[in-house]
């Protein structure tokens, strides 16, 4: 079996008394799209910085492309593409100047970069913006440019920290489409996100993180199978009645979650359960039957929702 591109064992990062990443283990294989899912402050970005060889671990081991980042930072960074949470483009320079300058940091020849820029402008759908100042671009365009910039060195691993946070739905879908294409070309992706739909769309395999620890690992489907039921029935009785009704509902299925505004009921057949509830003359003001998602997995694992 080929060696994983990234392999961490007992990886820990402390800032003073605070443990940001707490003895985590994971592997990322070549060509895989690997996700770190968790709420803000779960330790995802810290883990990303350690993989990116810009922040050193406190203990444990990690190997990236077969090397230890503590000793071989530049060698590792030479083959990574990093897309940070906040765009750090040079707003005063043009789109193509940003790509060119970034390519130079990898010591690439001017000729190589010039050819690469054409390819990347096509990929990022920014051909007609090539000479535009970056400041004038929309949020979605800046994101795509940041991704294009990270690809200028043809990295083995592309790392994306919260790639679609702050984008409108349309811009998110364009971005997902671009990332999906990259995935098809065999680029290894490491993605952090606190959006379950993003994790479901983009990740082959993911770890669920909370408070610096890994709570679960698997493909989105496996995680849902393991930690949730096929369907979820969401019912609302109004905030006063929710409390009153909850004990009765609890009798009707193996697991319920009471949220401030609604009650989630985990079952194989949501419609059947809803009929049973109605038969008991408990008329919810609204009801919804849906498939289980990673949000439910997270709720099960931590007792909290992803976006708080």
């Amino acid at each position: 079996m080929p060696e994983p591109l990234i392999s961490a064992r007992g990886l820990t990062k402390k800032y003073g008394d605070f443990t940001a990443v707490d003895t985590i283990d994971f592997d990322v294989d070549k060509g895989e799209s690997f996700g770190l899912l968790g709420p803000n402050g779960a330790g995802k970005s810290t883990t990303m910085r350690i993989i990116a060889a810009t922040s050193q671990r406190s203990s444990g081991t990690i190997s990236i492309l077969g090397r230890d980042p503590e000793e071989h930072g530049p060698q590792i960074r030479a083959h990574l593409g990093v897309v940070p949470q906040q765009d750090n483009l040079d707003g005063e320079l043009t789109v193509s100047e940003n790509l060119f300058i970034y390519g130079r940091y990898f010591g690439l020849s001017k000729k190589f970069i010039r050819n690469k820029i054409e390819e990347l402008l096509d990929f990022a759908q920014l051909q007609d913006k090539r000479d535009a100042k970056v400041e004038a671009l929309s949020g979605g365009m800046k994101r795509r440019l940041t991704i294009a910039r990270a690809l200028v060195s043809e990295p083995d691993i592309l790392m994306l920290d919260e790639p679609t946070t702050g984008l409108d739905p349309q811009a998110r879908h364009i971005l997902w489409d671009r990332l999906f294409r990259l995935k098809e070309t065999g680029v290894t992706l490491v993605i952090t996100t606190h959006f379950m739909d993003e994790a479901e769309q983009l990740c082959d395999r993911l770890v669920v993180m909370d408070k610096g620890r890994i709570m679960a690992e698997g493909s989105p489907l496996e995680l849902i199978k393991q930690y949730s039921t096929k369907e979820v029935l969401e019912v609302r009785f109004g905030s006063d009645r929710n409390k009153e009704v909850a004990p009765i509902l609890r009798e009707m299925c193996s697991r319920i979650e009471e949220l401030p505004d609604r009650i989630l009921m985990y079952v194989e057949d949501g419609e059947a359960l809803l009929e049973a509830i109605t038969a008991k003359k408990l008329h919810p003001t609204t009801s919804l039957v849906r498939r289980s998602s990673l949000e439910d997995v997270f709720l099960r694992l931590t007792g909290r929702s992803l976006i708080e």
Partner: protein
Amino acid sequence: MNSGIDVSKIRARGATYVAEARIAQMMKWKGIIAIVAIGNPLFYLVAIGIGIGVLVNENSGTSGTGGVEYITFIAPALLASAALTGALDEAMFPVMEGFKWRKLFYAINSTPINPGQIVLGVFIGAIARVVFTVICYWALLIAFGVVTIGQSWDVIPVTIFAAGAFAAVIMGVTASVKNEDYFMTVLNRMIIMPMFLFSGTFFPLNTMPIFLQPIGWISPLWHATELGRYFSYGYSISGVMLLVHFSYLIVMMVIGFKLANRKFAERLAK
């Protein structure tokens, strides 16, 4: 793996890539940089050198300026202050932009470039600006007939060196501060302004009361000015003082680099 990436080459030349980027950024401001580099000395030389010079020369001849015309006396000082101001711009703003405004240094730091190379690259960029400023100024001094080419060319490297020492310190200090806006106000009003006034720019420092003279002694501008005068028109300085001026600037440069290297590495590793 992209086989076109040669990490040992990046280790050797990384700082020049950062400097290339700095110069590309400065080129966006080339109009303003050129106006400042040419307009600033032009206004000063005309208004103060010639205008006030008439007053000075009529009232005290050249006795107050060590036997030279007033314009000759202030020319190397204005040259030094223009060089240091240029160095300040290109050492302070890129560091703020790099860490706070646009976080450009974090982008560079995720490439094979290391923090020390960012420091050196920004420094080289600042020096490029200083070289341009100093050469413009010097050309104007020659055009005004204040200095002659043969006798005064060595004022150029000396002034650039002094501006470099200042740039290194500013980079280190800027990287150390957390509250940038407050820092800029204090730096401009409380440090740069007095430095300009009390560094013997417009009058010899030793004409000031003794308790004000230390402002000049700690100011790199005074050391640069004294050296500039020595190299531009044969102003007399003892061998010991020459050594003091050079040593002071060298120490400044070394401390500046050490501080900048440490702070850059610390902030980028967070």
